[in-house]
């Protein structure tokens, strides 16, 4: 009796817009987007007008395409080299991390085996270990093995995502019905084949979430390549941009801030696009993960 009016007509006070909340959120959005707006505006300026004009107003000659061209060709096109390196780190590092987390999380969720509890405790403990605390010992170890200053030095540590494993594990215990796996076994399908043909599809939103966050982590990686690499030809974009930026700081140096700014814009565009295009996946995957904390 009570339910009828509310289901026919939405409760009026739910629909009322709040002016205060709107103002609060507009302030939030301005804060979040202001530096990006500054970046876009600044990427249209020459080095000279960059230093002499108000940051959020277009000024001087429109030099955006000129800046892009200079960014891509400066120092024999090293920016494109850094871009290519970053792609390698992301595809191999983040791709590998996602695959390992998916396999492992599924193994933890859908099978029991001796020592499972220990494995679980060790991995959860590892989430609490700060990644940068490990970086220095990892560097010292890798230099003993002769791995430093190679691409592997950046790729191997990014292959492990304890949190990704945890997320897939939580997701898999809900999303993959054990009865389905039983049925596949009855039909004589091998466990690996079952994983790739049946389970992986059911895990897709969780895998997409872990994958996207692994992509961000590797695309944005700074500390690890900073300590592992000394050859600029192996740098990812982040270290390369920092190198360009520091070139302007020395005495008598020729600052190339317009290239730093345009390079920064070119660096964030792909990752922003990836996030916006894959919104539906990662948002549903993230809510699934948070349900089960």
């Amino acid at each position: 009796m009570m339910r009828t009016p509310s289901s026919v007509r939405p409760r009026p006070n739910r629909q009322r817009r709040s002016v205060i909340l709107t103002v609060v959120m507009v302030v939030f959005v301005i804060y979040s987007l202001l530096p990006l707006a500054w970046l876009v505006v600044s990427s249209t300026k020459t080095q000279k007008s960059l230093l002499s004009s108000f940051g959020l107003a277009f000024s001087g000659p429109f030099a955006f395409f000129d800046n892009v061209q200079q960014t891509l060709t400066h120092d024999n096109g090293i920016f494109l080299q850094w871009f290519g390196n970053t792609l390698v780190y992301v595809v191999v590092g983040a791709g590998g991390a996602t695959l390992l987390a998916a396999l492992g999380g599924y193994g933890l969720a859908k099978f029991s085996f001796p020592g499972k509890r220990i494995v679980f405790a060790v991995i959860l403990g590892a989430i609490a270990i700060p990644g940068t605390a490990l970086a220095v010992p990892t560097f010292l170890m890798f230099s003993q093995l002769g791995l430093t200053n190679t691409m592997w030095a950046v790729i191997i540590p990014s292959l492990v995502s304890p949190f990704g494993l945890y997320l897939i594990w939580v997701y898999a215990s809900e999303a993959v019905p054990t009865e389905l796996l039983e049925a596949a076994r009855m039909d004589g399908a091998g466990e690996i084949r079952t994983f790739f043909t049946i389970s992986l599809r059911l895990l897709a939103p969780g895998v997409a979430t872990v994958g996207l966050f692994a992509i961000v982590a590797t695309w944005n990686n700074y500390f690890l390549p900073l300590i592992m690499l000394s050859n600029p030809d192996l740098y990812p974009l982040t270290i390369g941009l920092q190198l360009w930026n520091s070139q302007g700081a020395g005495i008598g140096a020729q600052p190339i801030f317009n290239l730093v700014i345009t390079g920064a814009l070119l660096t964030i565009l792909p990752i922003l696009l990836a996030f916006l295009l894959m919104q539906r996946y990662w948002q549903s995957g993230l809510s699934a993960g948070s349900v089960k904390q």
Partner: protein, 306 residues
């Protein structure tokens, strides 16, 4: 967290009666574990080993027991950095999490037009690489050609001095807040979405106002998410490195080589060639972080039981 493990265990026990599959699950984990051993366990063990030795100019490596640890706790540079990240932790993290909470509650309130837009816009900075974020903000902070300079010119005096000793920690705090407020907002928002609709309907029937709904329904539902976000923020604060290290170029003399424990460890091993002492600091920071994260988690779990 462990309650899920228990539940998952009992459920699978019935499904795994045949001994043939006893080890199958482990095989799925083998690739992960292999890399895990190489990149996490081995460095930890190696670092513990390093921390027990000391390299002397004469005589090479010698075993010194816990001397490096004793040295660390009386090292004014390390203690200064540790104190600094603690100050940062106790001021920046609450501000950021409260802002994230406000944003999440506002977006979930159903009183906003275009809530999806706000959600994405506030989250966008998380996708911006930390290096780019710091570069952008250091341009904005510049009193020569940045917005801080524009504002100071407008006011006629130096109101904002982001690169001075007094201002540098708030300047870093602002960058970190900008980078992660959206990420935390999303964690909170995701938790709010799991509140069953019937609870809101019941509250409306009982005549509960919006603040009462927030206090009695939404905040309890957020408890787990708040614990998780707090733990991640603590880990992040203790690891503070990227932002001060990149800003150091714009603020010479203000950001020292031992500004945070992590910067200190980095500079010790790469500039000072003191690998043993650097490993000691890394271990101390790892233990401190793990202990605090554990305390936060245990407190959060206890409140849930109550």
């Amino acid at each position: 967290m462990s309650s899920i493990a228990l539940r998952a265990d009992t459920r699978e026990r019935t499904a795994t009666r045949r001994p043939r599959r006893r080890w199958t699950g482990l095989w799925f984990l083998v690739p992960f574990l292999a890399v895990f051993v190489v990149t996490i366990l081995a460095p930890v063990v190696y670092a513990v080993g390093l921390s027990l030795f000391r390299n002397r100019l004469v005589g090479g490596d010698s075993f010194v027991g816990f001397d490096n640890y004793i040295q660390a706790f009386s090292d004014p540079k390390f203690l200064e950095g540790l104190l600094r990240v603690c100050v940062f932790l106790f001021i920046q993290v609450p501000i950021m999490l409260v802002l994230a909470l406000i944003a999440a509650l506002a977006i979930d309130s159903r009183r906003l037009a275009g809530a999806a837009f706000y959600r994405v816009a506030v989250f966008v900075p998380y996708a911006v690489p930390g290096v780019v974020a710091v570069l952008m903000w250091s341009f904005l902070y510049s009193d020569r050609y940045g917005l801080a300079g524009n504002l100071n010119d407008f006011l006629g005096f130096d109101f904002l001095k982001p690169f001075t000793t007094e201002w540098i920690l708030p300047s870093i705090g602002n960058i970190v807040t900008w980078e992660f407020v959206g990420y935390n907002m999303l964690i909170f928002y995701a938790a709010l979405r799991t509140v069953p609709e019937e609870l809101y309907e019941a509250a409306a029937i009982d005549g509960a106002g919006p603040l009462r709904v927030v206090w009695s329904i939404k905040l309890p539902a957020l408890r787990g998410a708040i614990v998780i976000a707090t733990i991640f923020s603590i880990i992040g604060s203790f690891q503070l490195f990227n932002e001060p290290n990149i800003l150091a170029g714009s603020a010479p003399g203000v950001i020292t080589t031992y500004f945070t424990p992590n910067m200190y460890a980095y500079n010790l091993s790469f500039v000072g060639q003191q690998a043993n002492y650097a490993a000691t600091l890394a271990i101390i920071m790892g233990v401190v972080t793990a202990v605090i994260a554990y305390i936060v988690q245990a407190r959060g779990a206890r409140q849930e039981v109550r």
